[in-house]
Subunit: 160 residues, 2 copies
Amino acid sequence: MPQIIRPTDSEARTLARNLLAQARHGVLAVIDPDTGTPYAARIAIGQSPEGQPLTLISELAQHTRALHADPTCALLVGEPGPKGDPLTHPRLTLLARAEFVTRDSDLHAHLARHYLTTHPKSQLYIGFADFSFALFHPTGAHLNGGFGKAFRLTTADLTP
Amino acid sequence: MPQIIRPTDSEARTLARNLLAQARHGVLAVIDPDTGTPYAARIAIGQSPEGQPLTLISELAQHTRALHADPTCALLVGEPGPKGDPLTHPRLTLLARAEFVTRDSDLHAHLARHYLTTHPKSQLYIGFADFSFALFHPTGAHLNGGFGKAFRLTTADLTP
């Protein structure tokens, strides 16, 4: 789809914030520490009570090892529905740095309480010793609002 | 989801090949040439008549610029359906090198004829001067067949 960059407007900002707020899963792009090449994995996405994007991931996953080696990453959110052309469905590529949260901390407990309301099935594994939260600190974003509707967003655009 | 790597069996190979053969879109992970950091974008995915994965992308897109600068990439295929836990839905991370196909070539015409049967809506833009095919040459793959079902596949595993 052609990506002529449009001037960011309030509609684009609202769309981007909604895509982040509503995300329950997405695709993480990282650098594989073994090869130095790009790697992609589907991960769960949630939000802190304050609205910051986060994930709950296992230390056993390749992408978790990658984030420990280099926390610079991208996160694609905005899943196409079962109907219509998936490439016209709005999506956001968040550019971010991941920060792991110590499991035995007040912050972990704070995040876990909220996460269980948005991801009730995570009750099955949230207590496993290899699972922890990683918060995403945005550094920018690319919004694709559909055919020909591309925007470059700043971190200020992403926060109300 | 924990990712203890299992020995590759024929079930895993079949699942991986089916995910690739059935993909109509997916998520591409590349290195952003402007920043040197990971970047992710949803792209259309098709197959050559011989079964090789490919995409039809615009020169105007950031991820296309990235592939020209460094063709090493990853491609996540296997989209979760509207029902069930999306993280238990099988998906494949293909590690690959992208090779662009010259628009004015017999290979382009050969790919276009088949692509239009799997992506009929691309008729709207396949003729645009900025759109071309890129073939993905696999170098390996990570298969996640659901909770605890992780496999590392070779290129031989991916081809019947």
